[in-house]
Amino acid sequence: MKGPFVRVQIGKRVFPLVFAAAVAGALSGCATTANNPKDPYEGFNRAMFAVNEGIDVVVKPVAKGYDEAAPLPVKAAVGNFFGNIWDVWTAVNNLAQGKGSQGLSDVGRVLVNTTIGIGGAFDVASEMGLEKHSEDFGQTLGVWGVADGPYFYWPIIGPRTTRDTLGWGVDTYVDPVWRVNDIPLRNTLAGVRFIDMRASLLASDKVVEEAAFDKYNYIRDAYLQHRRSEIYDGNPPREAIDADSSK
């Protein structure tokens, strides 16, 4: 399995890049002229974005290879397996947000998929009508009223608001994959999950490449909209349209 090997390679290349980029970012940050109120650390973020694009040069081919070589049932099983693990945390977050019936439905999903779905490989629960939700601690904080905070772009992790960076920290702390004692197994699981996630984003790569005028801006604005929608579970309040609406 390429997982742990790729991570070691990335580790060796990342540190010096991150250090250099952080310095460059700190310097260029002072020179930023276009001050977007949503993105006060744009200089730093663009530097981190460049680092991530560099890392992606290594990661994307692995993800593409996986996507092309793995048969669909295998990819589905991998996606379902990690999705099942995530459903446990989703259930906790739904309950913490006061969404009792959704939380219980998620618990039901985990029970059904772990047993009938053979360790989570098959998403039987969706076919039974138990909808898949996706909640994380960042969304819970959002529902509790914590504001976004400045936008950040982190290497490997990607875009996160300040609140969601903290949320990500909690998500990672409780993550069962990171708590596996056997180090090689842990790294393999984390690596496979990462590649599977990257592979699921390949389709949108092409869209972003062609639709975006500035990839960094496009991803930031898309991320902020998407998060807002997630916090409201797909029904965000519609923003007032400034346009003169003349047709």
């Binding site: 500035d214 998060r227 346009a243």
Partner: protein, 204 residues
């Protein structure tokens, strides 16, 4: 016999306008989506990334149901009122080209997804509606795909497409506003023209 036939004919003529009544927005979205997916499912070229064919499909089946003038006005925001009618037309045309291209691209990534249509509660007198659909793919979280439609006369027209909470139109707002601040409306037109030329040059 003859009178029975003419009676039937009369009934048909009277009943026909009822069938010709414009379909509700949710019915429209379902009809067009089903039509497009039927084509994509059978077309190996599109599935293999043949963007030109996907663009043709979108231009024929999808475009007639969109209001690009309104979509562009939304993307440009406050500065829209500062543009001349000629600039507005130019912007709408270029933005349409860009959006068609982007939307068509997502069709070429089609891989056995199914579309679920969420129930739309209609009172019957609205003029602005959001129709929600969901794209389901094995092994992946479902993706929300919503259409914002407005009533224009008897017909419903789409003025925004929202994928996973991301409005295709408002995602351009900051970029457009920045360009207008730097180079005016003409600068924005030029930026769009250049982008489209670039995409045209690179495509299959």
């Amino acid at each position: 016999m003859k009178s029975l036939l003419s009676l039937l004919l009369l009934l048909f003529v009277v009943a026909a306008p009822a069938f010709a009544q414009e379909a509700g927005p949710d019915v429209l979205v379902k009809k067009v989506t089903d039509e497009v997916l039927t084509v994509v499912r059978q077309d190996k070229d599109i599935q293999n990334g043949h963007t030109r064919k996907a663009v043709d499909l979108v231009e024929n089946k999808v475009l007639p149901h969109f209001n690009f003038q309104h979509m562009t006005a939304l993307a440009v925001g406050r500065d829209w009122s500062k543009a001349t009618p000629e600039q507005k037309k130019h912007l709408a045309d270029e933005f349409k080209t860009l959006l068609v291209r982007t939307y068509s691209n997502s069709l070429t990534s089609y891989k056995n997804q199914t579309v679920v249509y969420k129930p739309t509660k209609l009172q019957g007198n609205e003029t602005d509606v959001i129709v929600k659909t969901e794209i389901q793919q094995p092994g992946n979280k479902p993706v929300q795909l919503d259409y914002a439609l407005e009533k224009q006369g008897d017909a419903w027209k789409v003025y925004d497409v929202i994928v996973a909470g991301i409005s295709l139109v408002t995602n351009y707002r900051d970029t457009f506003a920045q360009e207008i601040r730097a180079n005016g409306v003409d600068g924005l037109v030029l930026m769009l023209v250049n982008k489209n030329k670039q995409l045209e040059a690179g495509k299959k």
